[in-house]
């Protein structure tokens, strides 16, 4: 279980038929992305078509869960679900897509949060949904 700055349940969305595979994946401990079988484009967030070439011929695959810290802010205003200040980050996955997340097992400070630091996914069980978060990793692992 990740050491998270969260104090009350996160505001969760509702899976749709097109995103269900993603949330099934996080429950199973997998970060699932989609790839186009026609043009090879890898994309996120989930949808039943390729945004690069309009093909419906797309597959779901389990991603490495590795990425790097692309950018972030540290929010100082109160949020009902978080003990602030807490970082909201854009993670660039090794497979290419970016996604929003929180960085856990890490001080929420500019000194500790260094751009381009290697990250790996971890999953936080929130009852109905498991939410993908990221934590620092050794660059060789």
């Amino acid at each position: 279980m990740a050491d998270s700055p969260r104090r009350r349940p996160r505001p969760l969305g509702q899976p749709t038929p097109e995103t269900q595979h993603f949330w099934d994946g996080t429950k199973a401990g997998e970060l699932r992305l989609q790839r186009c079988n026609d043009c090879g484009h890898v994309y996120f967030p989930p949808r039943s078509l390729c945004p690069a070439c309009s093909s419906r011929n797309v597959d779901v695959f389990s991603a490495s869960g590795k990425g790097k810290l692309l950018s972030y802010v540290i929010n100082h205003r109160p949020h009902p679900s978080f003990d602030g200040p807490y970082a909201i980050a854009v993670v660039e996955l090794d497979e290419g897509p970016t996604m929003l997340s929180n960085i856990v097992d890490c001080d929420q400070s500019p000194e500790a949060l260094v751009l381009d630091m290697p990250l790996e996914v971890t999953f936080e069980d929130n009852g109905d949904l498991a939410v993908p978060l990221f934590r620092p990793r050794e660059s060789q692992s």
Binding site: G13, T16, P17, P51, S54, L70, H76, I88, V90, N102
Partner: protein, 377 residues
């Protein structure tokens, strides 16, 4: 010019479709229409829709439009879209327009509407991480910009300092007392690296514009301000999905369209407004429209080019940072461009004949750009 419909299709199924969310119904119909017309999303340069935001539809399908219509007036919205699209195609604003509808009226799957309900991509993939609207999301690319181009915290603060200088000349500005870089950096931290004085105000207000033909304009009491050119675009409803966190695709498309349609070069612009919800917006605007090279706008502002007496007077009402910001500030940016072109602005730029006004919608989700002039083109 006569405009024609060259592709038309409904969703693959009709009736009860519990396995598709509302946005996927839009997309399913669009993909069928693409197949009917023998084209793909990349061939589309105009998007119109109702019930969902055209930002959502363009991003979902992978369209980078230069014309957008989200007119939403009920069930006849699509008739209005057809009419608006015909005018746009005639005007050369778009070559190929996609109009979509999708509604999970029976199954109620992912019925988000424009704001996005629980099934929206935003609710699923951004809200869980404690995003709190503009202060946390508009600002999220700035650390990346700082690393990429070496912008300092002091240079970001300088944007607010310069705009306060303009506000000091404007009796209607909310904040008029001069500030220093230290004042900005010592103001309360809102969302690192953004301090209070680098965030826009929250005020009440309103504005309105009236347009008519240049022919009729002479019958009105004020010196006419002419629309010389315009541009628009959308990119994504989610900041985390911008193709480049340090640049707005919507700014680039809207800005280049506006300048091209106005037939002007950068040197022709005497006055500029860039919607400044946060201090980095003018930097993005100056670079995305090519007034500065990549990474050069912070020094351009620091060197005084945008301040009173500078080479490119920018946000001369004081901007969203000091003048006012009600939430949809674009109207006030337009009002200041009109005042400058009429020659009636409190901080009038002497001899200004061309004003470029760049707006942002959502958090880099959309952009509109208007070029105004005080002489008939």
């Amino acid at each position: 010019m006569t405009v024609a419909i060259v592709g038309a299709a409904e969703t693959t199924e009709l009736g009860r479709i519990p396995d598709m969310s509302q946005i996927q119904l839009h997309a399913d119909a669009a993909l069928n229409a693409f197949a009917d017309a023998g084209i793909r999303a990349r061939d589309i340069d105009g998007v119109a829709t109702a019930g969902e935001s055209p930002v959502n539809i363009a991003h979902y399908l992978g369209i980078a439009p230069r014309w957008v219509d989200g007119s939403s007036v009920g069930g006849c919205s699509f008739m209005l879209h057809v009419r608006h699209a015909a005018a746009a195609i005639e005007a050369g604003y778009a070559h190929t327009v996609l109009i979509t509808h999708g509604e999970s009226g029976r199954s109620g799957v992912g019925r988000g509407g424009r704001g996005g309900g629980g099934g929206s991509l935003l609710a699923q993939f951004e809200s869980p991480y404690g995003s709190m609207g503009p202060t946390t999301m508009f600002t999220i690319g700035v650390l990346r910009y700082m690393k990429q181009y070496g912008m300092t915290h002091e240079q970001l603060a300088m944007v607010a300092v310069v705009q306060r200088e303009w506000a000091g000349m404007n009796p209607r500005a909310s904040y008029r007392d001069p500030i220093t870089v230290d004042d900005v950096l010592n103001s309360r931290m809102i969302a690192y690296p953004f301090h209070l004085l680098e965030c826009c105000l929250v005020t009440d207000g309103g504005g309105a514009l009236i347009l008519t033909s240049a022919e009729r304009a002479a019958d009105f009491p004020h010196k006419p301000v002419y629309i010389l050119g315009s541009g628009e675009s959308v990119e994504t409803p989610m900041v985390s999905q911008m193709k480049d966190l340090t640049s707005s695709q919507a700014f680039r498309i809207a800005g280049s369209e506006a300048m091209r349609s106005a037939g002007i070069n950068h040197g022709d612009v005497d006055h500029m407004m860039v919607y400044d919800a946060f201090a980095h917006l003018p930097i993005w605007g100056l670079e995305d429209l090519g007034f500065c090279g990549r990474g050069e706008a912070p020094a351009f502002i620091e060197d005084g080019n945008t301040r009173p007496g500078g080479t490119l007077p920018l946000n001369t009402n004081g901007g969203g940072l000091s003048y006012m910001h009600s939430g949809m500030y674009g109207m006030y940016a337009l009002q200041e461009s009109v005042r400058q072109m009429r020659g009636t602005a409190p901080a009038q730029v002497p001899g200004a004949a061309v004003s470029l006004c760049l707006g942002v919608g959502g958090m880099f989700a959309a952009s509109g750009c208007i070029v105004m002039g005080n002489e008939l083109p």
